[in-house]
């Protein structure tokens, strides 16, 4: 891994984040309506003096470029502003909720990749077999069904009809004082349905993708070489072929991360998961602009980080890319 690549990649990432901040800021300013009126409305009335004082308090009386500069320098110092609705710092609000979201998104990502790739590899072994057909049908259904519908169906099935999993939330209230292990298991128990719901769409895609990728790789000369050495079928599939088939899977995994976060927004709403998606949902309904911008900023940062990690993982997976810019 060369350092200059990493530095350049991080530099691009920062530039991208700056762009996101500017775009966020301008988008909100472009939206119809005066934030001061909205805030005053939330407070229950709007006299001219009140509007002026609100404008002054939030810096809305200054020129837009000055406001932008203030916002950027605040963000650079970790200050994302004050929430209109929750009356707390946005950074604090997000800090409370980012953990559950990352837990949900990463679990869904891992679950969908692990299960999807496994199904894809099995399907690639016999491209015309039953498993292959199952993966194709499952992929179509998984991709077509809206995520909130899957969530509701799973709740009905596995929380209501067969009460195996909890309906909502992240922790049982009565276990708040239990030991760490008990609490962790409790969270995992709550996590399963939302993570699976979120994973279903992507799981199906990974299965299809790895099936196609594996089929291509299995036809290559070096697979024949591996067989000619006397390697077992398991080693041919999971060692020789999968490492090579992994590149397109990594690409998609990196690109999907953004989608996964927006999917998390819906899943968190369905399962009442106390994460950022839930916060975004609430703040959009309440026109809480600083919170919306903060959540967008944070989600973008997660996507940028995921993309940098994807680029780095290419180099681990494919030695031909090492040492290239």
């Amino acid at each position: 891994m060369n350092a200059s690549f990493l530095i350049r990649r991080l530099g691009f990432g920062l530039l991208l984040m700056l762009g996101v901040v500017v775009l966020n800021f301008l988008l909100i300013r472009l939206a119809p309506g005066d934030p001061a009126v909205v805030i005053a409305g939330e407070m229950g009335g709007a006299t001219k003096e009140m509007l002026d004082s609100i404008r002054q308090e939030y810096g809305l009386d200054k020129p837009v470029l000055t406001q932008l500069w203030i916002y950027i320098s605040n963000v650079a110092q970790g200050d994302l502003g004050q929430s209109y609705f929750f009356n707390q710092s946005v950074a604090g609000l997000i800090a409370h909720r980012v953990g559950p979201t990352i837990l949900l998104v990463l679990s869904a990502q891992l679950l969908s990749i692990a299960l999807g790739v496994f199904l894809g590899v099995i399907a690639a072994r016999k491209p015309n077999g039953v498993m292959s057909g199952f993966v194709s049908i499952f992929a179509t259904i998984g991709y077509a069904v809206p995520v909130f519908w899957t969530g509701i169906m799973l709740i009905i099935l596995f929380a209501s009809v067969l009460p195996i999993f909890p309906v909502e939330g992240m922790q049982s209230v009565k276990l708040r004082d239990a030991g760490f292990l008990v609490q962790a298991l409790d969270v995992a128990h709550h996590l399963f349905l939302p993570a699976f719901t979120l994973a279903v769409i992507y799981l199906a895609q990974y299965a299809r993708l790895s099936r196609a990728s594996m089929l291509e790789v299995l036809g290559s000369d070096y697979i024949r070489t591996a067989r000619a050495k006397g390697a077992s079928e398991k080693s041919v599939l999971f060692k020789h072929a999968l490492r090579n088939a992994a590149l397109p899977i990594l690409t998609v995994a990196g690109l999907q991360f953004g989608n996964l976060i927006s999917g998390a927004l819906l899943v968190e709403s369905v399962f009442n998961w106390p994460g950022m998606g839930r916060l975004a949902f609430d703040s959009i309904l309440r026109r809480d602009y600083p919170t919306i911008m903060g959540v967008l900023f944070f989600a973008s940062a997660m996507v940028v980080i995921a993309n940098i990690l994807t680029d780095l993982s290419y180099r681990v997976a494919d030695p031909r890319l090492r040492g290239k810019g």
Partner: protein
Amino acid sequence: MSALLQINDLRVTFRTRYGEVTALDSVSLHVNAGETLGVVGESGCGKSITALSVMGLIPQPPGKIAGGEILLNGEDLTKVSEARMRGLRGSEVAMIFQEPMTSLNPVFTVGDQIAEAIMLHQKVSADQAMKDAIALLDRVGIPSPDRRARDFPHQLSGGMRQRVMIAMAVSCRPKVLIADEPTTALDVTVQAQIFDLLNEIQRDFGAAIVLITHDMGAISEMADRVAVMYAGRVIEDASADDVLDMPLHPYARGLINCIPNLGRDDDSLAEIPGVVPPLHLLGAGCAFADRCAHKAPRCAVEKPLLINHGHHPAACHAVEEGRL
């Protein structure tokens, strides 16, 4: 019946959209220990299918070994279990492929790939296997082998990669080494080096080599005996000198005539008119009849058998009747 590798009446069919075609039609070959058998013929004549059959690497389906036997030290490879075949592959019979550029796995170092072959068949530690791999790289003439062992295939030239393939193939001292057009993809100067290396390896390791090629120059340099194949059949089988000096079958004569001769002052190269017929269009007669200058009515209806009609075995009615 004391040959190391003996193929008797091997018949291999493939299911295609034209129906079932016969890729190999009663092919019989043998090679003795320490001997080099050259198998020559145009593309699509069944050379590689023969090699893959011996390796047990014919994709089944669509392929099928429909008859005959492949005896390695008397053990019929068409009847052994997949597990047994896996144990033989790489250890008793090994293969070098045509495409060194794509035959090595791009995501593992060459040292790892050779060491893997060693560990699949010998009970040695990973460290020892890597030491052996480095020694093999040294043996096949790769400079600074301990450093090269840590290289990935894309960091090596085509000739180097073919040397790695050879090192991998001989890593378990196989009794039979099949080289399927090992130099086709390489520069002419590198080709000569690879042939020299194969000759040395054979001397050191005592392996029998089956050299598949359409390069008659390679045959004259390497082979003790030659089998000429055409459309899935062996049509001439004799010592390399006999075939090169006195080819009998019109197709074999054509192949020898195709060798460019620097001393000759011709303007154009000799060629055999036409192409190998598609396997699904093969009729009852001689597959070469349509391209043959010595065709007789009998050739269209009766398949000639590989029989010695005097000098050495050839499958041709014209040779049998003394018209050639």
